[in-house]
């Protein structure tokens, strides 16, 4: 079976202007979202308490809010969680148990009064102080930035500065698209999302590596052609492996997204978006950056179309 017939040449590089334009608009939109609406921060980053409740019979959010009394007022968010009919809810409070001492005790008391004992279960309670939250937020952001830069440096050392730069810009694109999708889909940002973003960075650079590897090879093989043609040939030649390597990852991620449960779902979602974006950005972002670099910055000396020495 073959997805991409051999000999297919799609003029990807010809679409680069429109692709870059669309991506810039999307990324700008994400940045605006990020600074206006901002990401929905989970307790890991914002501080506060989240409790996961499971009831043995159907209850409404209003009833739960009533049961919580004073705790249910103000910024408290109660939402459906898990599958349909599982009667699971997430209660999110701004307070932490450090401030209140016995927060989960209070939640249990209120619920017992309203629904009777033994009809519910506090399955999980997470409480993070505001100081820890802001520390984690900073560390998380830095780790994603550090990983992106490291990928760029690695590609630079293994291939070329141009490709390193292209990879970094493509990765920034992927991370932004993933963040934007999470914001639009209303998923909370927590530690597992940072794990997902780091994985996106580590994985979507793979496609860039595969294409760079082929470009390097083709540069040695076909010396007459322009860089644009070589890049385009390389993209086409590696297209099926790019699609399949990401495709198998997408298969398992779909399984995780559908069957993995509520805690894992946002994580799987972020990876799905990031991996899709990774394929796109390698073809339409990383390569144009390389071409742009080549055409605008190095045009003056025509003899520079050579790859830095092959390091194996």
């Amino acid at each position: 079976m073959e997805l991409i017939k051999p000999g297919v040449t799609i003029p990807f590089t010809r679409y680069r202007y429109i692709a870059v334009a669309i991506s810039s608009v999307v990324n700008l939109f994400v940045l605006i979202l990020l600074f206006t609406r901002g990401p929905l921060l989970g307790v890991d980053f914002a501080g506060g308490t989240v409790a996961q409740l499971k009831f043995s019979k159907p209850v409404t959010i209003g009833e739960i809010r009533n049961a919580l009394g004073d705790l249910g007022a103000g910024d408290t968010v109660i939402q459906d969680f898990g599958q349909q009919g599982s009667n699971e809810f997430l209660v999110r409070l701004q307070k932490t148990s450090a401030q209140l001492g016995e927060l989960s005790e209070q939640i249990k008391e209120g619920l017992t009064k309203q629904f009777g004992s033994g009809t519910f279960e506090v399955r999980r309670i997470e409480s993070v102080g505001p100081k820890v939250g802001s520390e984690l937020r900073q560390k998380g952001a830095w780790s994603v930035i550090a990983a992106t830069i490291m990928m760029g440096i690695y590609i630079w050392l293994r291939f070329d500065l141009r490709f390193g730069l292209g990879a970094v810009i493509a990765l920034i694109h992927d991370v932004l698209v993933t963040i934007g999708a999470l914001i639009v889909a209303n998923y909370e940002f927590d530690l597992t999302i940072i794990a997902a973003l780091l994985t996106v960075v580590g994985f979507s650079v793979n496609d860039t590596v595969i294409i760079c590897d082929r470009v390097r090879e083709n540069m040695r093989k076909i010396k007459r052609e322009s860089l644009e043609t070589i890049i385009n040939t390389s993209i086409n030649e590696t297209l099926s492996r790019t699609i399949i390597t990401t495709g198998t990852a997408i298969l398992v991620l779909l399984a995780l997204f559908v069957l993995g449960g509520g805690v894992i779902r946002p994580f799987a979602f972020a990876l799905l978006v990031g991996f899709f974006s990774g394929v796109y950005s390698t073809i339409f972002i990383a390569s144009p950056v390389v071409l742009f670099w080549e055409k605008r910055l190095i045009r003056k000396s025509p003899g520079t179309l050579k790859v830095s020495s092959v390091k194996k």
């Binding site: 450090a98 940072i194 590897d213």
Partner: protein, 532 residues
Amino acid sequence: MRQSVLTRAIIFGIAIVAAIIYLVPTFVSPLPAWWISFLPTDRINLGLDLQGGSHLVLGVKVDKAIENNIERVRTDLSNVLREKGVSGASVDREGTLLHIAVPSANTERLRGVLKSDFAYLVEAKSPQTTGGKSDYFLTLSKEEIRSLRDYAVDQSLETIRNRIDQFGVSEPIIQREGQENILIQLPGIQDPERAKDIIGKTALLEFKLVDDTANVEEAIKNGPPPGRQVLYGHAGRGDGIGTEKQAYVVESRPLMTGEYIQDARVRPAQQLQGASVELILNGAGARLFEQITAANVKRRLAIVLDNRVYSAPVIQERIGGGRASITGNFDLKEARDLSIVLRAGALPAPVEILEERTVGPSLGNDSIREGVISFVVGSSLVIIFMILYYRGAGAIADLALVFHILFLLAILAALKAVLTLPGIAGIVLIAGMAVDANVLINERIREELRAGRAPRSAIEAGFQHAMPAIIDTNVTTFLSGVILFQFGTGPIKGFAVTLCIGILTTVVTAVYMTRIYYDYRAMTGKLKRISI
């Protein structure tokens, strides 16, 4: 080549057997006795999010400990100055600053005392002299503060460890995290609220004399007279805030503290009163207690725990034998918990809960089930796809995938790694990435075949040319896993570990193992056609 294929096959076979042996303890329980004696017993442990339990991060309020210490130094200093006859000196504490005022004539003698007895104090700002009076501003030296901080955190850690041991939790993790935090993990705990109560109580026990001459209402309204303080009675559990509590005016200086406690025992409830806790003092404590009671017959002695008066009995006579009891509307559980914290000793500084994550066992079981289902479904999808797409070569890649999972789990077991929910997600994800190396190789082989090469040399070239990309892609993913490990806490670290180990095992199985197969085919001369 015959030799090399055989050697590699044997090495690989040994690795598979070793992996199976390492996995047995994880899946077989109990292990037979003969196994335990000479085979590995390490197993994959479940993280708190899968088996249920509490994860706590406590912050030690070190500043409070430092403040307490400076207050102690202040008392010492004024005593020493009085003893050494430095007249007219006064010592006040302003935050972490000691302000000493002496007549200018006495500055030399003050300096002498400071140098000989209080070398750990340093000048916070330069002394000022105005109108025959000199003001000195001193504070603790940096080294002193650092050692105080370390002491406070280490001592808290030790005390909390004692308390948890007595409370009875199997395999708790209690360790220092960063400069002032303590990380506690309590697997499988049933009553996290109670554990938090026990861990978080400062449990500073003091015996203070009640000043019956003072007017309580006036002391509340206008502040207590010098050397006195107002304390409130312990209301017992269930009495909400706002109920009237009895107030006492007591002498600020404790006659004795909980450091002399040798043992604390629960006394069950009797007809008229709830359960109580009996304190048994050690030798020095018993002597001190006897002296105190002898000197204060007919006065009331308040038993104060964490600034709450539990009882204030009148001393009828000198009490020998070193026994005292704390009463106060306890139920049996409360009394038991109190006896635990009294036995384990007081925390040197208050602690606060910075982070808490508690998962009930039922959620853990659900998570495991969902994780296993998505793993089975996800990897089945990949296996089916690979066979459909690459036929024979796909089946070989699938076999490599199965071995990869075997090795990954075996290494996790050998490392006694902790499997968390994100860790399971990592195993699922890696199953989707594991075939990538084979995809790169197979695509390359197809290309070489199309270019007209014979199967054997196409495979040779396929492996060779795919190698750089395989190495580079795996290195980049591995690097991000390392960064994640650096950043992550608990469950996230679990994901990073499975990611990094999984990448190593995929390279081994996808490249090394499949190569053995193809070389074997080539060696036996059956490589006229390949299914790819």
